[in-house]
Symmetry: C2
Subunit: 317 residues, 2 copies
């Protein structure tokens, strides 16, 4: 009986054991082995991470590709889209960490905590210098851009803080923690209303430059934009211009376009910009949670059942 | 008719006008005037800020003292305690800003945002360096120490983040957003359970060193302590020892003992300490909200009604 060759991209002996224990029909291939025998690429049936888009054309027997992250825009070549390969991701496990990251960046800005952190290094107690110009979330309008797992949890947290929560969602379908949901047609109204925009959009044909010249043009001059989705959902030149011209309060970015951000990019040094290098989804127990999805899918695959977390390759998420 | 002399400590012409408009029985005294004519001190009947504890013994006609803040430990001399002067404060208006400040400090720590802020200055994109050792609030146990307006709002926010919220309250009386409330007798159990302690206690005889050697001894080695109450509610030496010996994860302090913290104090430079100089209560519209309480009380005072926000001088808050 031909074995099912399964690539595990991560070097994790415990995971290898658990995968192997799932069935003796499986033959685990490690990233190391693939490097030594590149010919194995054409024999892989299942891949759990560790494959770049440039390798996909030579993975002729691939039937199922599971990623360890959520965004799949980097993998979705026209060929993969057109193929019968099933693409699954780890969407859902990022809701809490990314929402926490966004509120952390936001509060660091509104409470002037970065300035206090710099000030601590001088060992000087300057209480009255900090009391001015702090902002308060309670009473602000939080605009959740993309109301999936991350956006939904962010809405719940925002409500806890006493923010008024509005959302923008293609379908305009309601969400229990979103007071008013805007549809795509009403998007400028959504941006006009928001004091804070939390963007956790995936990058698809429909979301590229979801925030561009038109959107920044209607936003409040003190509004704060947070992006933990994909850099390309924001038109970088339009963002930089809005910040430069005082038409936007701040940009707090975990993702950028281009990414990584080149050393000479103006965003690095702009006064109202805070950058974290694309780690908002990281959290303790990340791989346990991602592996749980993969192992459940492996069980389903072997049993001929439908997989969970299947990406709609046409929609791109 | 003798006028009611009323000191307004803040130089705010708009407030003076509103106070004067409340009744022509009132004669407003400004801080400036008091400085020029110190004899006025003995004629004041009402004071809204601007009086130090050392001046109190000479304010012989004082009947009502309203503060602009919440903590009154700095004013509560034995003489004031024994006197018939009614003491009122602005407690309640600090709930949102202080809860926001505490969660900002907490997330800055768990999401490693201070390190990212320092890193941004080098213009280097080091994504993988940050993915490790981040913490996640969801699933952690939040211990709310002192469940008043601030603690109650913090409990609500913590619940929104998916934390398990426990509380410590002298009476042990329940609160809708606190899953389990501990009483004073069970306090070591409360500290043993908490991953994060948010302390917003007032400083009274009963709360001095509420967190001391015994409490730190039972806490989890990774636990995070946040203090926005009063510095003296924590035994500083016990805190420093726990941090030094790796028995505590971090201390995030908006208040310290002593305060201001002297330049050579070890807390300034300890790796796991973040200090903001006592401004967690600041927020936009602070004085509008504080003045609203004072003006309502002034209306009540003139009408002979009972005042709101009266401090129990024996309890100290």
């Amino acid at each position: 009986m031909t074995k099912i060759k399964l690539l595990i991209g991560r070097d994790d002996p415990g995971l290898r054991e658990r995968v192997q224990a799932a069935s003796d029909r499986i033959e685990v291939v490690t990233a190391e082995q693939l490097k030594e025998q590149p010919g194995l690429l054409g024999e892989l049936e299942i891949v759990y991470g560790g494959l770049g888009r440039e390798q996909l054309p030579r993975a002729g027997k691939l039937r199922w590709l599971q990623t360890g992250g959520a965004g799949v825009n980097g993998l979705l070549t026209p060929e993969l889209r057109a193929s019968e390969v099933v693409l699954t991701n780890a969407s859902g496990i990022h809701a809490e960490p990314i929402a926490e990251h966004m509120f952390g960046m936001l509060l660091m800005r509104t409470r002037r905590l970065a300035e206090a952190w710099d000030q601590q290094k001088t060992r000087e107690w300057r209480g009255y210098a900090f009391g001015e110009n702090v902002g308060m979330l309670a009473g602000m309008t939080l605009g959740v851009l993309g109301v999936g797992a991350i956006g939904g949890h962010s809405a719940r947290v925002g409500k806890g803080f006493g923010m008024r929560v509005i959302g923008l969602r293609r379908t305009g379908a309601p969400h229990p923690d979103v007071e008013r949901m805007y549809s795509q047609d009403e998007r400028l109204e959504f941006f006009r209303e928001s004091d804070v925009v939390m963007n956790s959009l995936p990058l698809t044909e429909g979301t590229r430059h979801a925030m561009g010249w038109d959107e920044f043009a209607v936003m409040k001059p003190a509004a704060i934009v947070i992006n933990t989705g994909r850099g390309g959902t924001i038109h970088t030149d339009a963002l930089v211009a809005a910040l430069r011209e005082g038409r936007l309060g701040a940009a707090l970015l975990d993702v950028t376009d281009p990414e990584p951000l080149p050393e000479d990019h103006p965003l690095w040094t702009m006064e109202n910009v805070f950058i974290t290098p694309h780690y908002s989804g990281a959290h303790p127990g990340y791989w346990e949670r991602a592996d749980r999805i993969f192992l459940e899918n492996l069980r389903r695959y072997l049993a001929g059942e439908e997989l969970v977390n299947v990406v709609d390759k046409r929609e791109g998420y």
